[in-house]
Symmetry: C2
DNA sequence: TAATAATTTTAGATTAGCCTAAATAAAATA
DNA sequence: TATTTTATTTAGGCTAATCTAAAATTATTA
């Protein structure tokens, strides 16, 4: 198996390369893992030796098939544990990430598959992120940022692209939790802020910065 | 917090000093942690620095108050996770120990207390071992080895002093699981083996070696 | 395109946890 | 009690993961 640290690097590379299929840079990884570039270079050599990544000096890095597999498995574990913490233990969606960062390294395929069944094979975690199934398949939904919606458009809040506790708590306070139906009432030209109606009841104004991090299914 | 490794040493010292309040020796710890005596000495110095143990060169070691506290907390976590694995995820009692060895190091008081509540604050784990409460209190039951029972005596199987998978599976096959009512039918003088009746139905003969590792509440 | 800036890698150290072999202390035995 | 055996500690090294500082490479800009 891979070490705790190796797993965290693989996960970092995965998250950094999602969407853009570009190679990931040393500095990006250093930032995400809270280490220094020199340390990252050391680890990249090691992961490359193990054939978990494709690495060319100075040219950045991509995950190999086995590296991708390992990364997706860690993410599966992370998201299932987050679901467990919220649905079974009563945690709030802003409280679970750090604990899941530890739990995701528990190493037992049987455990995670039984947990999956116990939870009813959930499709998404408490933040709306898709949970890979046991074969590693991820069902991505097509989601749109609120900041990209036009006046009059409607949709259901289905994800967030910012997972910090402070942001999630704000959404909670605004009533913009997962499943909320929203309609864009007005786009304020001056600063890009947006007025929207939640569940056909409440009107709220949110900044462009907030709107960029809320993902909606149209 | 303490490192994964430090926690394992504290746990080892705790288990080795249970019952006999004697100081624990370097070699005992080395055996329990699958390391060498020299490595243990290194760690004992470190734990002593941190005031987690009382250590005098060549004289063995005992847990300090804070060390005991830490050890009991790890054991609480271990046993609660074992209970979870058996009661919620459907694991057998011989399958949970290794996974719990990993889970016991997850570091969140909130998590473990919520898990405790979710599980209904169980008193004992799947092996009959008492689960410390959130204040660290352990309710030890007075249990007797089957090997110490006399002919005609009755009791309820309530614990095991051997946790290996092979032993637990044997008990399962014999029908000697936790909660079984047993009565000593006959003591065989020749080899110390014991004939007993389980739940007033089945008769079984068990060796002295097996009998020594089954704990009964009279 | 040549100079400058930014990024990445290498060199050389550090720390935790582990090891073997040698030295020392304690316990057992003659 | 002197000797031998056993247990423990010390000495010296190793590996994984990290760091800072310096060197090398790539990217940017004048
Ligand atoms: Mn998370
Ligand atoms: Mn999540
Ligand atoms: Mn156990
Ligand atoms: Mn147990």
């Amino acid at each position: 198996m891979h070490s705790f640290t190796e797993e965290n690097y693989l996960k970092a590379i995965y998250h950094l390369s999602e969407g853009n299929l570009m190679a990931v840079s040393t500095n990006q990884i250093a930032e995400m893992t809270n280490t220094k570039a020199a340390s990252v270079t050391d680890m990249l050599k090691k992961l490359s030796e193990k054939k978990l990544i494709n690495y060319i000096k100075y040219q950045g890095v991509t995950l190999s098939n086995s590296g991708l597999n390992a990364a997706v498995n860690i993410i599966r574990k992370h998201r299932l544990w987050e679901f467990f913490l919220v649905e079974k233990l009563g945690f709030k969606w802003d409280e679970v990430h750090d604990i899941a960062e530890e739990l995701e390294h528990i190493n037992s395929a049987t455990l995670i598959n039984r947990l999956d069944d116990f939870l009813g094979n959930p499709a998404v975690d408490p933040h709306g992120d898709p949970i890979p199934d046991r074969s590693g398949l991820i069902k991505h939904k097509k989601l749109v940022k609120v900041s990209e919606m036009k006046a009059g458009e409607q949709g259901t809040v289905s994800g967030v692209s910012e997972h910090s506790s402070v942001f999630l708590k704000l959404l909670e306070k605004l009533g913009l939790t997962l499943g909320s139906k929203i309609m864009i009432t007005e786009l304020i030209e001056f600063d890009g802020s947006i007025i929207l109606t939640i569940n056909q009841k409440t009107d709220r104004t949110i900044s462009r910065e907030v709107a960029k991090n809320i993902l909606v299914m149209l």
